[in-house]
Symmetry: C2
């Protein structure tokens, strides 16, 4: 029955897509995506969320873009001049950020028009579909914090490792003030650059702080070592190596080098997708380290898993409306009934993508450290 429903849903989507593939219906107000490289005119997006691509490859036989309607194999470009291939998605894309790549004669490359974003264990092309609520992650004329690259020693792995830390506006001048910290994890295929580049976590925080909706805190982002395992084999992932790096190396380094409040009451952990799986495991393994837990499209907690409920100040569960919001909502209700402070958030009209997680961070930040 479930399979039939999925098939039905797919057919309906396809039908919808085709009905929108009427040229008269596509608004010709395409503009360059804001994630294009400087001066690049393509890819473009229109007011309805369609994306249009242009690739130069004079002697290619076939050019395809991986982005298009789910499961439909992306968008096949057509040769429009001696050297240029163009194509438009068959339907509108969800609002927000999307990864993609370009297939030229069977080889996978990036679109030379766009900036690069680490996802799927490779630097991919990225495009931004303007969202109705894009103001909350826009670069505005407000005081800005910094995103700092720090290099910390990791004796357990024998390496020097990289993390990024968001410090809020005024951090340097407030030389006595101490801050809470959110440890924020990316998903499978991504790395420590994802939350700033794709997620715009720093701009979300700058805007939240400027509007007075949240008190300033630090955000630490490092590589969750999630990409050692193939996508289909995620259950084989062992948390131990990363848990040691995070809890025995990075957290002590951050508490030593930054003005943090080094207590669980002022420390949160959150993660998206596989980073949520890591958050789930590590918060349960180390109940004395974190008091705020957040899983963004990353599963749920059950009351039975939590040994000492008095140590948990907040559980935040979120996902996109195109994922399985009923799971999130049901788990939140169960946690509430068991006496936890639990909050759920469902991002409207988005799936397992960064727009869901940007919105989740925006909803989560004001709830933290209260």
């Amino acid at each position: 029955m479930k399979k039939i429903c999925i098939l039905l849903a797919l057919l309906l989507t396809v039908g919808l897509a085709y009905s929108q593939n009427d040229n008269a219906a596509i608004a010709e107000d395409f503009k360059p995506s804001v994630l294009n490289q400087p001066g690049q005119e393509y890819p473009q997006v229109n007011s309805q969320g369609y994306a249009r691509f242009r690739i130069t490859a004079p002697y290619a036989d076939s050019v395809k873009v991986s982005l298009g309607l789910g499961g439909r194999g992306g968008t096949r470009l057509k040769k429009v001049t001696d050297s240029i291939w163009m194509g438009t998605t068959e339907g509108p894309l969800d609002e927000g950020f999307h990864y993609y790549n370009v297939n030229v004669d069977g080889g996978k490359f990036n679109d030379p028009g766009t900036l690069h974003f680490y996802g799927s264990i490779r630097w991919e092309s990225g495009i931004e579909i303007p969202a109705k609520d894009q103001d909350f992650y826009a670069l505005k004329n407000v005081p800005h914090g910094e995103v700092r690259q720090l290099l910390f020693p990791s004796p357990s792995t024998g390496t020097t490792r990289r993390a990024f830390i968001y410090t809020p506006p005024g951090y340097d001048n407030a030389s006595k003030k101490r801050y809470p910290v959110l440890y924020l994890q990316h998903g499978w295929g991504e790395d420590e650059t994802a939350w700033s580049n794709q997620g715009r976590a720093n701009l979300i925080m700058d805007n939240l702080i400027a509007s007075g909706r949240t008190e300033p805190f630090l955000i630490v982002m490092t590589y969750g070592m999630t990409n050692q395992v193939r996508f289909g084999k995620l259950r084989e992932f062992k948390i131990d190596t990363f848990q040691t790096v995070l809890t025995e190396e990075l957290i002590p380094y951050v508490d030593e080098h930054y003005r943090t409040v080094a207590k669980s009451s002022h420390r949160a952990m959150a993660g998206l997708s596989m980073g949520g799986m890591e958050t789930h495991t590590i918060t349960l393994n180390k109940p004395d380290l974190f008091a705020y837990y957040a899983l963004l499209s990353g599963g749920v907690y059950t009351p039975e898993e939590i040994k000492d409920p008095s140590k948990v100040k907040l559980i935040f569960l979120s996902c996109g409306s195109r994922e399985r919001p009923e799971n999130i909502q049901k788990a939140t209700d169960t946690l509430k009934t068991a006496g936890f402070k639990a909050v759920s958030y469902v991002s409207p009209n988005t799936g397992h993508e960064f727009q869901t997680w940007r919105r989740s961070l925006y909803e989560l930040a004001p709830l933290l450290f209260k």
Copy 2:
């Protein structure tokens, strides 16, 4: 006569390259370049400085890599299986960092194996040829400073602009200490990411400071707005817009938000290539702002240009040995004769490339703020 000499030099180079294109002479000790994306086996480099490329493009008719011997049109790859193209440069490349791109059936793409670096007004592929002196820019187990992304308001351009600032190890904890500042510019086609990504300026500083060879200082890197002009038309570039951003907006912002010594005696400006041209113009236009001037493959100063020699504490001129070192050396001699403290540096066996500029920074840093 000059043309004949160039032709002769070219022919000699070609001859040399061909003589080295004997397979017996190529050491089969190729290893992945350190600038590859995680897990990527290609491109590779060998102990002699040859680079080997592998590109997957099953249905392509032609795959070329732009990197090869100067003016020879790069390296043409050959199809070695149903889907894979491979090729090795005809001769060894200079030590250090090189930009390149991949031509697939006439279209310009990046090598999916490498990280990306902004040069030639596009994000390019990059490869690193191990250098005999690579230790000075290696990531070592020493205290590390930070590279911070800051966003500063620019009323003159009506934008919020990005800069990176290197803060040395211990900056945060030394809450009373104030630091000198080097303003360090990239070249044409590049941007504010170049000195950290390609140049490894932060690691060069970390290592210099750890060895006690230089006192800690801040480095500020922002976009020099150099890419508004086509490469052949550089003389049409107007400095005014960038000079205003740098001297009236960024410098005051840095002096307000960081613990600097806000005096010309503790402020230096340096730039590579077109960034050297900017440095030359701005230091002469604003003699009260900077006391240390450095042009890296970026021209020379003459004594006549400098209105008040007493304000200049150091002039540093450098280039690669494959550029025109005699110009640098002659200008330095003239400056010394005129009473200036002038220092020249010529990077051995390099041209107009980042290895020259990494070495130049390494030579320059210990001379600054003395």
